[in-house]
């Protein structure tokens, strides 16, 4: 059972503070937390703090234990962060990148077991035929799927995804999120995903946190966070919110009220 909590988290780049005292209710095992907010609101920075890539003040815990208290190897085996940009355009092949990452992390898998895991991952992501193709020959979307496979290969307890669907078409956008949801439901663990797409957020996330200028504006269920007032305050849009058959909010943007400040 994995739980993730953030209390009074602040992050600064030098003297410039970009995340201010953010507290988010505990993300329970099997849950997916969505981070919403405009560009440069601090979503990626918060994810970097959660992944220990950037230091933060306040208290971030996994299973009640402060993230700084985890050993280096244990942490990176248990927590997988997927960066925003797809893997580089190089002559390296997807299988080589995933394999070298798995070997660097020393996952304790035999070649056969690791091969089977990679096969399964690539099959679920439609990458079987591209496993041996140089990354430089793949589209941005396919490389983003390789980036997702890099996070998933370690079978982590905590999955941190920074705009994982930004380069994907509609099919793979939904498929990737389905994979995340299925995995959390069957294996457990927690996930945090930064997204721009409000529909994806409402459809797949158990909890949402809306961030603006490094401050938490609202946190809770999609119905609690995706309100007309919140969207106007954060995105400067007039919107109409209805509820779909599954009881999820359905956002329809009517017009841009004024340019975001």
């Amino acid at each position: 059972m994995t739980r993730l909590s953030l209390e009074g988290v602040s992050v600064a780049y030098g003297r410039h503070r970009v995340i201010h005292d953010v507290t988010i209710p505990t993300v329970e095992d099997g849950q997916l937390l969505g981070l919403l907010g405009p560009n440069a609101s601090g979503k990626s920075t918060l994810l970097r703090a959660l992944s220990r890539e950037h230091p933060a003040t306040g208290r971030i815990t996994v299973d009640g234990r402060a993230i700084q208290d985890y050993g280096h190897a244990d942490w990176y085996r248990a927590v997988a962060a997927m960066p925003q940009a797809p893997p580089s355009l190089s002559a390296l092949r997807p299988v080589e990148l995933v394999w070298s990452t798995a070997r660097t992390l020393d996952l304790g898998l035999s070649d056969r077991a690791l091969g089977a895991r990679i096969d399964g991952l690539f099959a679920s992501l439609g990458l079987e035929a591209l496993a041996m193709a140089p990354l430089a020959t793949l589209s941005g979307g396919k490389r983003q799927l390789v980036g997702f496979a890099l996070a998933m290969v370690r079978d982590p307890d905590v999955l941190l995804l920074d705009e994982p669907t930004s380069a994907l078409d509609l099919y793979w956008r939904l498929s990737l999120m389905d994979i995340v949801r299925d995995r959390l439901a069957t294996r457990g663990g927690v996930g945090v995903v930064a997204v721009h797409d409000l529909d994806i957020a409402a459809r797949y996330c158990d909890r949402l946190a809306l961030i603006h200028r490094g401050r938490l504006v609202a946190a809770g269920t999609a119905g609690e966070v995706l309100t007309r007032e919140n969207l106007a305050a954060v995105y400067s849009v007039d919107s109409e919110i209805t509820t779909d058959a599954a009881g999820r909010p359905d956002v329809r943007v009517l017009r841009v009220a004024h340019p975001p400040e």
């Binding site: 992944s51 890539e53 660097t104 096969d119």
Partner: protein, 345 residues
């Protein structure tokens, strides 16, 4: 359909076979290099003389063991050192143009050599005959230290490090030109000769020093092959897997600078090997550093060894400076590989 593991294992196997073929090519090149020259020593004599030196008469034994073997071996170890330093520099700075040459190490060695030739300074504990390589080494290590300081304390981006290296090249070249300006004709000729690159000055001591340096540093490079392979997917992904990229960059720049400094201080500026050797290896062996790191060292060694052989063979009775031939051989090979790979895509 074959599993990914089978396909990957097959690819890895083919790469190790290519590595073995390159090694065999290096051995052939080494034998050819040993047999080149006017003394009338054939391949059979060379092999016999290597296994049992007493099988050769004293004149041929001296030629083989005191003249040709050190020259041929220095080509191999210097080429290997430059190839290894080049591939690691290119990966850690994510820049195909990066090499010890473009980071200023070779230019600094030339400056050091020029200082030794023009100013002939006395160095404590260093005999006069060793002043030139000693100063070349000190200057090359100094350039490496400056680059290292930029990487370590400047918080420099990769592009900044490369730009700083190129600026260092220009600075060293300007100072070398200033020395050219005040040098007499004899000194000027010596500088030009050194700058082109020459393997014939090396003896067993030089071979032993560069070999020792290679043997000390190569295990660190081999230890980091998974990290370096992972880095080719991008720094952000390497960091997300727990790799301290900044720390690795300091370590790699340190070891490649030392390696390149020791490699060039005895033979002159043969920077081209460190730039193109790794690219030839990459075209043949791909980006998996388990094969690429030894492959770049072997390609560097093969390039310089072949250049050494040709330097003794193209003009009967004369030795063409090897630095001229490394580019003459390397560029066509490199362009051919690029063309072949382009057609295969």
């Amino acid at each position: 359909m074959a599993s990914t593991l089978d396909a990957y294992a097959g690819l890895t196997r083919r790469r190790y076979i290519a590595l073995a073929l390159l090694s065999a090519g290096l051995l052939v090149s080494l034998l050819l290099d040993l047999s080149a020259g006017p003394a009338g020593l054939g391949i059979a004599d060379i092999l016999g003389g290597l296994v049992d030196p007493e099988s050769l008469d004293i004149r041929h034994r001296v030629i083989l063991w005191q003249v040709r073997l050190p020259d041929a071996l220095i080509a191999v170890v210097v080429g290997a050192a430059l190839g290894l330093a080049g591939v690691e520099t290119q990966t850690i700075l994510d820049n195909p143009l990066a090499s010890p040459f473009t980071l200023g190490v070779s230019s600094a060695a030339v400056l050091g050599a020029s200082v030794a030739i023009v100013l002939s300074p006395a160095m404590p504990l260093i005999p006069q005959t060793a002043t030139l390589p000693a100063l070349a080494l000190v200057f090359a290590l100094g350039a490496g230290a400056v680059i290292l300081a930029v990487v370590r304390f400047g918080g420099a981006a990769r592009e900044t490090v490369v730009l700083f290296g190129i600026a260092l090249v220009f600075l060293c070249n300007a100072l070398t030109s200033a020395l050219h300006y005040v040098a007499d004709a004899d000194a000027l000729q010596q500088i030009v000769f050194w700058t082109i690159g020459n393997l014939t000055r090396a003896g067993w001591w030089e071979v032993a020093i560069v070999t020792a340096c290679l043997l000390v540093i190569a295990p660190f490079s081999l230890r980091h092959v998974w990290w370096m392979t992972m880095l080719r997917g991008g720094e952000a992904y390497a960091r997300s897997a727990g790799l301290d990229v900044a720390r690795l960059r300091v370590r790699v720049v340190l070891r490649t600078s030392v390696l390149a400094a020791f490699a060039v201080c005895f033979v002159g500026s043969i920077g081209f090997v460190g730039l193109v050797g790794p690219h030839i290896a990459r075209l043949l062996l791909g980006e998996d550093h388990r094969a690429l790191v030894p492959g770049a060292a072997i390609c560097g060694a093969l390039m310089l060894s072949a250049a050494s052989f040709l330097s003794k063979s193209v003009l009967p009775g004369a030795i063409v400076p090897v630095g001229i031939l490394t580019a003459v051989i390397g560029v066509p090979v490199f362009l051919t590989l690029l063309a072949v790979q382009g057609r295969m895509r």
